[in-house]
Symmetry: C2
Subunit: 271 residues, 2 copies
Amino acid sequence: MNFTDKIVSTIKSRRSALCVGLDVDLGKFPDILKNEKDPIAKFNKEIIAATQEYVASYKPNLAFYEQFGTSGISDFEKTLSYIDDDVFVIADAKRGDIGNTSKKYATAFFDQYNCDAVTVSPYMGEDSIGPFLDREDKGVFILVLTSNKGSNDFQMMKLENGKYLYEHVIETINKWNVKKNCGIVVGATHPQMFENIRKMTPDMPYLIPGIGAQGGDLENTVKYGFDKERVLALVNSSRGIIYASSGSDFAERAAEEAKKLRDKINELIGL
Amino acid sequence: MNFTDKIVSTIKSRRSALCVGLDVDLGKFPDILKNEKDPIAKFNKEIIAATQEYVASYKPNLAFYEQFGTSGISDFEKTLSYIDDDVFVIADAKRGDIGNTSKKYATAFFDQYNCDAVTVSPYMGEDSIGPFLDREDKGVFILVLTSNKGSNDFQMMKLENGKYLYEHVIETINKWNVKKNCGIVVGATHPQMFENIRKMTPDMPYLIPGIGAQGGDLENTVKYGFDKERVLALVNSSRGIIYASSGSDFAERAAEEAKKLRDKINELIGL
């Protein structure tokens, strides 16, 4: 089964298109974890146990683990071990380098950590993405139109041929997607672009950040971002779910928020 | 002293504009290290001890350490401890994410690992670079025109205003460079572009990969990439130096190659 079909099948069998971002931040952790020896692993373990039934996917962002050096990477590895096999794991790493180097990043995320997919930046072009695309069993979410303000700086530049740079990136990804293992990252803060993007990529899975703390528009994102026939998108929420409470009920409140958002998405897409 | 002045001062005081890339690859390691308990740390320790007098900078590429998970990151940390304080350390990480996430990457590379500079990708725009630029004491090398074939896919796209995307990236970086802590990455495989780029950024330090295994043109790169008044560029070589020999003389041969390249650069720039 190729990566695209695997996404659809995971979303359908788990009845969820929700991705929960595991962006660990000690400053936002509940007091109850203050005296834990390993608060990050403990926090993620409880969050995952409480929210897992409502999600299709988890997306740990590497920056939040790398900031602590080896101990952070060890927490990242522990976190992965708490996630069930049929839940999709996306390493949000936004990597990309010359070919022989990207190959090592592919080894890191696909073999060493055994994640299902990784996010990558397109700026360095084909050979920087190739080593990820070579892996038929794994997926690559390529940055196209991101959820932040800075997406206007380069992604929205008009090219000589009248297209936006992000549209040219999409057209190029369409050529690369021979093994049907490409996805794209499109921020929910650009709902007006989704209709055009879905036309350009009818069969491509999206990873959609920007709901919640970043102010994205869920209704319009779902209306245009999801296609009618197949469920080809994962909607991510990080802070809005995992920091729903800083009390001792943090895991239960995270579960409530995850269920609420999952149900809302399901209602909108008719899943 | 700002980052730009610090680069110049380091290059002058060490009489070297050479950066050695520490891209560790077990497959290329000398047989003599095969039975070492910690071959990566041992290899880097010997390479650094042998080459340090000829370099201005080391550039460990994170992919080569991340591929081994926590043990790789531990080797990265050990490697940093072998490098003298007055040698510039550039974490070649090519990171970049939304603001609150890039902030964590800045913490990782500037505080946790205490590197002097980091490489970042511009695709996500201003707020993805901002947290790195906020650090007056540290430097950021932003990808502009990279050394690989894929640099043609997006960086060389013509914009509506007739400029290449990479030129627009440079103009934007010029606006961001308030604290004089921006550098740019320009591949030695594009020597014909250096004259134009140096005109656009007379006072900006360059990190120049692509010499050696990637086939870059040292003479023309130095001719146009370095300015006449100040030494504002670091020329990187990785494989050509650290894998000069796979015999027991690997460290001595690496030192020979480092000295040779340093002298060649110095001759060309008159340092």
